[in-house]
Symmetry: C2
Subunit: 212 residues, 2 copies
DNA sequence: ACATAACTACCTGCTTTCAGGTATTTTTTA
DNA sequence: TAAAAAATACCTGAAAGCAGGTAGTTATGT
């Protein structure tokens, strides 16, 4: 049985060494190469195929996110697992948005590394427990956040959703069989309730208050 | 040791019965009550305190999401776990946004229920494996999505981010020490690249393409 | 039945956006 | 070094948005 080839991209050789050590008993995985910079990695990938890439997102010569997107564009099927000390929701979501399939923190153990590899090979997204928690926390609202959000009327909610869909005033008026003046009044009331002075800020604030 | 009181809100008594059966050996948990509708649940909560609520989001008299937000406003510390057959990213994220702490699918087993209760009692967000996967999938981009996104110049990216922050043309011009005409040209070019005809649609499309 | 809230519509004046271009300068690439 | 790309700036005209209100009708709540 041919072992699954893995590429490690990390500017610290000790990291690659540590991972190789973790995987030395795993007969179905093989570290095909370890690169310490983006250029070497891209060169390697030009002539070689791997199934999995462990990618440090803090590289010296290239932004790891950009490299991730670059690799993803060229190799649609390769699984890319981010490797980092950064446990921030913004970076995690950006990494996935740039084509990543998984995200591990550098304090991971062997078990978690293998679990991640299993999951992405099974076409699943894998985040380490800490990263997963960080990402999920973004979705949550506290009682205070919900309490402070102003109450919108039925029509205001409707207008807000249509604005969020990208319709402008006249288009909303046409869709709801109302006057443009009416839409403008609702919009004005919405802007007053959320204490903003433009439609863009209205939508931004509404998102923050979880109204859309 | 006082067992943790749980409230079950589900319009099917069989569900509450099944959960009670799952938890019958768990001495540190106690089903305090099972309600079949929102009104009964709110009445119960007026006179009683529970630590955990298992909430079916498809209730007959009230939208489960609205009920969740309502309970959250009144009881900041209670842990609310959604209970549903719906495994859709939109509903999951809305449930969390309305104050939920966890989300279980109705095909869950006893182990997963206990794991969820442990996690939320530990102030963590818990999603069942299936729900978690559904939510994470939203963050990911394929090679095609990345390939098809138009390439933006340095200034275009900068303008886009500032528009996303809610600034209008003149404000961006002032911030970047450029002419308003220049900003409008960049905006026009952005709109052309993303094939839209308003700033709102530009921001919407940019989000879909993971540019912001 | 009355008061209140929500919804509807209107209007002026000003600002901003959008669409349609043109054109010069600077930076980058080959 | 020259070509190409990016950045900058300009301009008109029309449409939309925003701020400032006023005001009548309908639905809801007490």
């Amino acid at each position: 049985m041919i072992p699954i080839p893995i590429l490690i991209i990390d500017d610290h050789p000790l990291v690659a060494g540590g991972i190789a050590m973790m995987l030395r008993d795993v007969t179905w995985l093989q570290v095909a190469c370890a690169c310490t910079n983006a250029a070497d990695a891209l060169n390697f990938l030009n002539d070689n195929t791997v199934d999995i890439i462990l990618l440090d997102i803090s590289l010296p010569d290239t932004d790891g996110l950009t490299l991730c997107a670059q690799i993803r564009r060229m190799h649609k099927a390769v699984k890319i697992i981010g490797l980092t000390s950064i446990n921030e929701a913004g970076i995690i979501s950006q990494f996935l948005a740039h084509g990543g399939n998984g995200y591990l923190l550098k304090d991971m153990g062997r078990e978690e590394l293998l679990e991640a590899i299993d999951a992405v090979m099974d076409n699943k997204v894998f985040l380490s427990k800490g990263a997963n928690q960080k990402l999920l926390e973004q979705f949550c609202s506290t009682g205070d956040a919900l309490k402070n959000a102003p109450v919108l009327t039925r029509r205001e909610k409707e207008i807000l959703l249509l604005l969020h869909e990208g319709l402008n005033g006249p288009q909303i008026a046409e869709k709801l069989f109302l006057s443009s003046y009416t839409i403008e009044t609702h919009r004005k009331n919405l802007m007053q309730k959320l204490n903003v002075s433009s439609t863009q800020l209205l939508l931004k604030k509404a998102k923050e208050c979880r109204m859309i």
